[in-house]
Symmetry: D2
């Protein structure tokens, strides 16, 4: 048996950069999870229980005081965990909450010196005006928002480490659709190649959360597909923020100057499956481009990244199921000259809890793959 190059081999991931003051290599990081009873909360528990440097200091969920974890997460029932009566004291607090709630809790959490890793949207958008615009609430802590870092390590590792050096340390973790879309498109945005863009995304239903809504009943979702959030899905704001920032030139350099061009035409769909996101990105490039050029751009962008795999066979969401991987496929259409870029993730792992653990590893100076070594589950 010979062995080829292994992109997600932990050994290939050196300790990433200088050790921040929060570094806990060799010691234990205490963590708390607020919003532990939802799907992202459950995934955080699952991953953190297997993290060699982490101890779960506490779990918190509204109106669930002292409830055994089995009531929310039967699959974790044997852990014997119970829901606490208050936000736990810990080195790091993960919040996985409806929008607006984590922002309200943030001052208390950071005042204790805890690093805040928000899986929700409250610290993702840099411009406070985007919150009333997209989320219909006024951000209650714009001063903290100004200190927050967008927690996509593949793009913002340095800022995340810098945030770990200072205080407060607030990470606004990306949404699930933005994670898939931004990772898939960032190299093109940086190269100024995105001329016209339609992002047509397909998601498993777990991304819609656990509140019992009529539209999410099995009988409504099964054996059907539909688009939703036409023209106003909240994740659009994140994608535009990040792709515009990546684009030093090209269409994403100026949202205000040319709103008809710099916007992301984003259309999400609900698919009859539980986990997984596929972002299909249709791009008319700003200039003719060759496949070799695309290959070079993506190789440079993601060579050495432990969780991003640029592949040559069409990816399916099942290829990354249960793992923190993102797989990307990109091709120029020889007939039309358009670019097609496909990205897949598990929305609950790389799109939520896994990315949060990866961010924890970044800010506490651990190898990024720590606790995230699980291979995809297939079939």
């Amino acid at each position: 048996m010979t062995t080829q190059s292994t992109p997600n081999d932990a050994a290939a991931v050196p300790l990433l950069g200088p050790v921040a003051h929060r570094s806990r290599l060799g010691s234990t990081i205490t963590v708390g999870i607020v919003g532990a009873t939802g799907y992202a909360g459950g995934e955080l528990i699952r991953l953190l229980l297997g993290h060699p440097n982490v101890k779960i200091a506490g779990l918190y969920g509204r109106n669930r005081d002292n409830q055994p974890i089995a009531a929310s997460h039967p699959h974790l029932g044997a852990t014997g965990l119970v829901i606490d009566q208050a936000i736990p004291e810990a080195d790091a607090i993960f919040t996985a909450l409806p929008h607006g709630v984590a922002a309200g809790m943030a001052p208390e959490i950071v005042a204790r010196g805890s690093a805040l890793l928000d899986v929700g949207p409250d610290f993702r958008l840099h411009d406070p005006a985007d919150y009333p615009n997209w989320y219909k609430f006024d951000h209650p802590a714009p001063d903290l928002l100004a200190r927050a870092v967008y927690g996509l390590p593949e793009l913002h590792r340095k800022e995340m480490r810098a945030a770990a050096e200072g205080s407060p340390t607030i990470i606004g973790l990306p949404g699930c659709y933005p994670t898939a879309t931004i990772l898939t498109l960032a190299p093109l945005a940086r190269a100024g190649l995105i001329g016209d863009l339609a992002v047509d995304a397909k998601s498993g239903v777990s991304g819609a959360g656990r509140e019992p809504k009529p539209d999410l009943l099995f009988s409504e979702i099964n054996e059907s597909v539909k688009a939703y959030g036409m023209f106003d899905h909240r994740h659009t704001a994140e994608m535009e923020q990040e792709l515009q920032q990546q684009g030093e030139r090209g269409t994403f350099g100026s949202r205000d100057a040319n709103p008809g061009v710099a916007t992301v035409d984003f259309l999400p769909h609900l698919i009859p499956m539980t986990r997984g996101i596929l972002a299909s990105c249709h791009i008319r490039p700003t200039r003719p481009v060759t496949q070799a050029e695309l290959d070079a751009i993506y190789d440079e962008a993601y060579r050495g990244e432990p969780f991003v795999q640029v592949v040559t066979d069409a990816p399916s969401t099942k290829h990354v199921y249960g793992s923190n991987l993102c797989r990307i496929w990109v091709r120029v259409d020889p007939r039309s000259g358009r670019i097609l870029a496909l990205g897949v993730i598990d929305n609950l792992v790389k799109g939520a809890a896994g990315q949060a653990v990866q961010a924890l590893n970044v800010i506490f100076g651990l190898p990024e793959t720590t606790g995230l070594e699980q291979y995809p589950l297939n079939p």
Copy 2:
């Protein structure tokens, strides 16, 4: 209870146009189905058994001589139908076969005077050169191909009736993806509004047929989504042929002059469901357009059509499940000025067997809804 307008009320469908010489109002049409053992064949049997003017004269399927229908279609086992040993003699022959096979049988079928309704692709493309290009075979009967009509009644009802007057009568029935896509986009193409276009389609797995391929196993499809046929799906040729024909001006007027623009950027996806197609069409219009203008264009295009419903709530494939309906939703994005047009069908009914029955009704001078009155099955 008050009653609003009822688009698919059979009473609203007058006898469509002059009665062709094949007209059988009041008498019985004999039909044969060649390729009766596949999914489209099964749907044809199901629909034709309920058609008040039709008698199934025979069924044919390769290497299945004298086999009871229950062996192929257990759900139809109680009908007592059996597979014949030869192509049946009948007023009309439906062929539902792998590409290239129906074209080989066509001379014999039309020589008998039977109308030929091909559910496969052998009579869809007008240019014989498209067959080696897209389907990798040379068309064996280009003279018959020249006489064939593309059987989408909503666009070609007149040509279909004209074909019924003469001989041979050959209808090349549209593919499933083209049916959804062309119906969704034809009004825009006619209005010259399609500037840049990406068609991102999602299909249930039954569209891939019944041959046991590893990629179609339940365990491979379930709980996953993937793109396939990138840049070379055969249905692209049909979409381009028809949309270019519809476009008197605008980008679809000239494929040769501007191949980079006049092409359809078509990307199909396999979704973990059995039936249904959703075509999500992302369009940058050639000029600014208002919602009122779109509404007027679509109202004019489809007012009075019994099977096309222009709706204002986002359609899901389940809304048309098991029926011959196509639902279309179209909106201009107020933020970007782009047009988003969504179309849903049941791929085995309006995308195959139902459309074939509708075409039968057209060429035999029956109301188009005859035998197709079933409401969608939901949930």
Copy 3:
């Protein structure tokens, strides 16, 4: 093409018995649906719209006054139906309501002279004491309950017709599990063959209704299977009532005398599908039995029944999908001597709305298959 015997051929179904005073052959029956917005209500509308002798006089649903049907049933949106403000006046009223509600409405409905066909459980159990026992409510109209007939036509056609002759006419339509189970087991019960019995049933999720409960979310049901209602599922009472009544001798003759034997060991399971019930019945017979004997028993029981098909290949729920059929398979295990009997139905058709329409046909003197001729939808 030769034609074998056709069990569900409408022609094989003579007008069943003497015409009752409610007979409406050739005229129109007006019907109202109370509880029109649930899944069973939607199926009733779908089927009744296609019924040649029926006119829908009105629809009623709590707190939905004047709401277009599209809000509840998008697939029926084009019918233009709207929800009324009161229980409609009609020849027959279908009620599809949570338990206890129809019983409260019944006096008013029957006082108007309408026939009442209750899809819910309020008129299924003959013994009023069974309601507090199994359903946890005291029956509010025990006098009407005493007049109600259990509406399984294959067992109680005569009583149903007799009820149509008199007044009030109240039909308590069977539950979905009991329909599958009783049809599968009635011939064995009548023959006194059921010695020990375990009914292990599998149901699609639509049977659990449309209320948004956390356990019915797609992400909870998909890719999983579980048992529920262990030892106390309400449908058990119906099965025992009917099987004991069928059993003139054998174990089902006396529930009180031998409760450990005469009970039905019923275990339902929730399966990740929308429609369909499979009842797998494991029987230790009271005496050795041969396959020939079983075949004769079932042939005698169901010969001529339009909706019951005794088959020799293992049935799957998809074989009856969307139709009013019940398929039954029964075999004696040559190794152990046990009997295995399998029955499948579509829980929303033969298990609910279709059976209700069949009952309507019975009591109004129409051929039982009227409006129920649809073949199963497959795949």
Copy 4:
């Protein structure tokens, strides 16, 4: 946060018993996988890549020489593994092959001194006559069969360790259905409580393997349920062998003496899901039994077992998804006196690859949970 008892806490699992001569605590075990391209093979690779004491020495799959693993298992593509040209040399060889194939290879494998862990059925049945009877082939190596141990650690840990001391070391790993069923029923069998028994099992489709058969196509399985293997499923033999062995008294003590009683009435069903088995066991006890007695029996049977969890809420297969856990629920029906016992596993983990790794741990003297600590994936 307080912590309750944690059944699957690795710390609770002491090194199990005396270290066998194959013990490799602290050193590396080399393993080969023959039949690496199927579903069980893929799971073995996934688990063994994460096993701290194991090195994969080679993979083998028929007609796949030198093929990269991505061709069979895209989700493992980044590992760079390739298929070898021959059976690898290793401390242990896992075989995951169609029946009859591993038995043919076994002499060569054990002659090299490798321990053989057969995931297939070739070494499960002690009586060579069972092979022609149930599997329709004559066992080619009855001498090796006589040395093989049935590899269900919870029942046969001692024999497995003993086999590791000697040579050859051959473990016939249990089938998926038997694993769920035997673990669920063994305590009752040992207590002589099983009077009459029906095992009604539901399985995900991955258990049927990866060969492209028409019945396993997505469109055939989705939205349907069916029974199969009526009266002759091969796993029945294993269940009877093991349950009879467990039963020192009671009905399972003598298959020959009382074939009508000592048999397992086993009925498997195919469910539209990929992974998971639920065995619903309906038991009429040989004598009246109380819940307290059942609780004591199961507590004694499984207390301290790392992978068996006796639970009080009804288990669903998703509760153990992707893990090596078996969850068991057992209750006496107060109304009928019957016992209902439910067991769930992931058919590809505890029912195949995970159990094989557990067996590897047993025979090489490692803690049984090594490499199997993954929590279930949910939702």
